[in-house]
């Protein structure tokens, strides 16, 4: 006999709906975990990757013996964790004599493994070893820039795959509107050789230039490491085709516009309640922008008090 189970509370229903497949998807979360043995370096790497992705990552602290992503039976545990935590990316760290400081970056489609890239971490420098002014430190959750340098990213298959995986992993949320003052960080990836990529995380400082476009200065901030590609597994062709299917584009709904046979196109405008009696009258508004403040000071200095005041009141 089958029973229909529905959530008893609205909160539970909302949580389930959040995890459901949608046309426009949520930001993908990352699962960070490690296998039976990890090295000191690898622990630091995993911790700092978790720090980079703070809002959208889950870090497991126990060791997992039966996870071997490249073997056919070693991925069931990973898929189960991915299902329970709703994570589509995973970073699996392990250390062995054959593969020291091993990091497996993987992606999931429908909570089954889509593709994997195995890299070795070399020359790791943690965040603590960089000295910089704390004011320019990138804020948590800001959208990063990406700079990929090197012809090898196009010519070598593995590096091409790694480029896609790195872009996907560190992209963060997909936003439509970006605040230009909030550009904070950049990930610089250089293909040093046909197997190694140097990965750096820098903060962006915008400097005044003559034009409206500011000049960029990069200051190295975060962890920097060299990633040596060891193995990789490309996605299955059929699954890839399904995963790359774009959602059908829905035309934007135009609100408050309608057509009438006689009058033609009609629009509706909603006016807010206008309270004429309660307008602000004072000129000493705290926190005016610097230019306006300076302009006001200059006006006060020139002795056109009354006429200037009348003009500024009208402009308000």
């Amino acid at each position: 006999m089958l029973k229909i189970k529905t959530p008893k509370t609205l909160k539970a229903k909302r949580a389930l709906d959040k995890r459901a497949p949608k046309l426009v998807e949520n930001a993908k979360k990352t699962l960070i975990l490690h296998g039976t043995k990890t090295s000191c370096v690898l622990n630091a790497v995993l911790a700092q990757i978790f720090h980079l992705k703070k809002g959208l990552a889950v870090k497991f602290s126990r060791k997992n013996e039966n996870i071997r992503p490249f073997e056919s039976s070693g991925e069931t545990s990973l898929e189960f964790f991915s299902l329970k935590t709703d994570c589509s990316f995973f970073v699996f760290g392990s250390h062995s004599k054959k593969r020291p400081n091993n990091l497996i970056l993987g992606r999931m489609y429908d909570h089954h493994i889509y593709d994997l890239v195995e890299v070795g971490v070399e020359n790791f420098t943690p965040i603590e070893s960089f000295k910089y002014d704390k004011k320019i430190a990138p804020r948590q959750g800001s959208k990063p820039f990406f700079a990929f340098i090197g012809e090898n990213f196009e010519s070598v298959d593995e590096l091409k795959h790694l480029k896609e995986v790195l872009l996907d992993h560190f992209r963060g949320e997909i936003v439509e509107n970006l605040n230009l003052t909030g550009v904070d960080r950049v990930f610089v990836c250089t293909a040093i050789s046909s197997t190694t990529v140097s990965f750096k995380h820098c903060a962006i400082r915008l400097k005044k230039s003559g034009t409206s476009i500011p000049r960029i200065e990069l200051i190295e901030v975060g962890p920097s490491m060299d990633l040596v590609v060891r193995r990789h597994r490309l996605p299955n062709e059929a699954v890839k085709k399904q995963a790359m299917k774009a959602a059908p584009m829905q035309p934007r709904k135009i609100k408050n516009v309608s057509r009438d046979e006689v009058k033609g196109k009609i629009g509706k405008i909603y006016m807010p309640d206008q309270q004429v009696g309660g307008l602000a009258l004072s000129n000493n508004i705290k926190g005016l922008k610097r230019e306006r403040r300076e302009g006001k000071m200059k006006d006060k200095r020139d002795d056109h008090d009354l006429s200037k005041k009348m003009r500024t009141e009208e402009s308000l």
Binding site: I4, Y109, E151, E164, R171, L178, V188, S198, I216, A247
Partner: protein
């Protein structure tokens, strides 16, 4: 530095320089990282140039630009939502051309003369509000019409639930169950492509299967390495009993008995198992003999009554008159 053509993906804020080679690989790490940063600065400057040239709107926090769609296509996280298969009613309505009419939440109640809800608390045609039900010619005497109404309602509700379950099963088969509903014999994954509902195996079943698997080796599972804490497998099958090679004094013709038993079972299709003919005949013979003996005793009064101990017969059959 000449402005080289970088591949810029504004939606992802990415810039890629495909034409850079590290011809002479820099000797030291500092030199390498300095060059990386230099190149990176150029690329980011390129992106920022493109970004600041987009039309921006002024906001409280600063200028806000509307980013274009990312040009690098990246795979989705979950599958696209599949269209729900139409329910039985939807198919029927489509066939008949029945359109859904929007109903009002408030309906005017004739009986009380007020506006009431169409459903829910204090609704229009509530079964409990009816005080008198007039008897019809077709009604049987002795039948409670109020309970009959309640039964009918219960039946309607059950039928609706059954139909709903059927519709959900159809949706599950098509792979598109609504995200907040789970069909459970056991808990199912909400997403994922599992098509079969796994039946919950009981503890006894699992133990039985595990026992069978454990003893399915050439040596009956005796020399297999056991995991820490594993209990020995249970043998719930029949143990074979072998007859002794040489028969002792007390046992007689056991092999004959065994084969006879088997033969009887094989040949006993038509015979009645309830009655064992030989035994019945023996019992009858014994009874008749005893009866004759008693009759003889009664007819010839025994001289030595005292010597003979009167045996009480506990058998109820001796009391029966034949």
């Amino acid at each position: 530095m000449e402005a080289e053509k970088y591949q810029i993906d504004l939606g992802n804020l990415m810039a890629y320089d495909p034409s850079h080679h590290f011809q002479p690989l820099p000797s030291s790490r500092e030199e390498l990282s300095r060059q990386c940063l230099e190149k990176g600065t150029e690329l980011v400057q390129g992106v920022v140039n493109a970004l600041f040239s987009l039309p921006s709107t002024e906001d409280l926090d600063g200028p806000i630009v509307r980013l274009p769609e990312p040009s690098t296509r990246l795979p989705r996280e979950k599958h696209l939502p599949r269209p729900k298969p139409p329910t039985k009613w939807e198919l029927f309505a489509k066939m008949k051309g029945i359109k859904n009419r929007k109903k009002d939440k408030r309906v005017f109640d004739e009986r009380t003369g007020t506006w009431k809800r169409r459903y829910g608390y204090d609704r229009v045609n509530d079964d409990r509000d009816v005080p008198i039900i007039e008897a019809k010619m077709t009604d049987e005497p002795g039948e409670d019409p109020f309970s009959k109404r309640m039964d009918e309602k219960k039946k309607r509700v059950d039928k609706q639930e059954k139909n709903r379950l059927q519709n959900l099963k159809q949706a599950f088969k098509a792979g598109d169950l609504p995200s907040h509903i789970q069909l459970a014999a056991t808990a199912l994954p909400i997403t994922g492509t599992q098509k079969v509902i796994p039946k919950k195996a009981s503890k006894e079943e699992l133990e039985g299967v595990a026992g069978m698997a454990a003893t399915a080796t050439a040596s009956g599972g005796k020399f297999d390495k056991k995991l820490p804490g594993e209990k020995p497998a249970k043998h719930t099958g029949k143990h074979r009993k072998f007859l002794p090679v040489v028969e002792g004094k007390g046992m007689g013709a056991q092999e004959k008995e065994q084969t006879e038993k088997i033969l009887n079972k094989l040949m006993a299709r038509s015979s009645h198992d309830i009655l064992d003919v030989d035994r019945a005949v023996t019992m009858f013979n014994v009874k008749t003999e005893k009866q004759r003996k008693r009759e003889k005793e009664v007819s010839l009064p025994s001289t030595s009554n005292k010597l003979k101990s009167k045996k009480k017969t506990f058998k109820s059959s001796s009391k029966k008159k034949q």
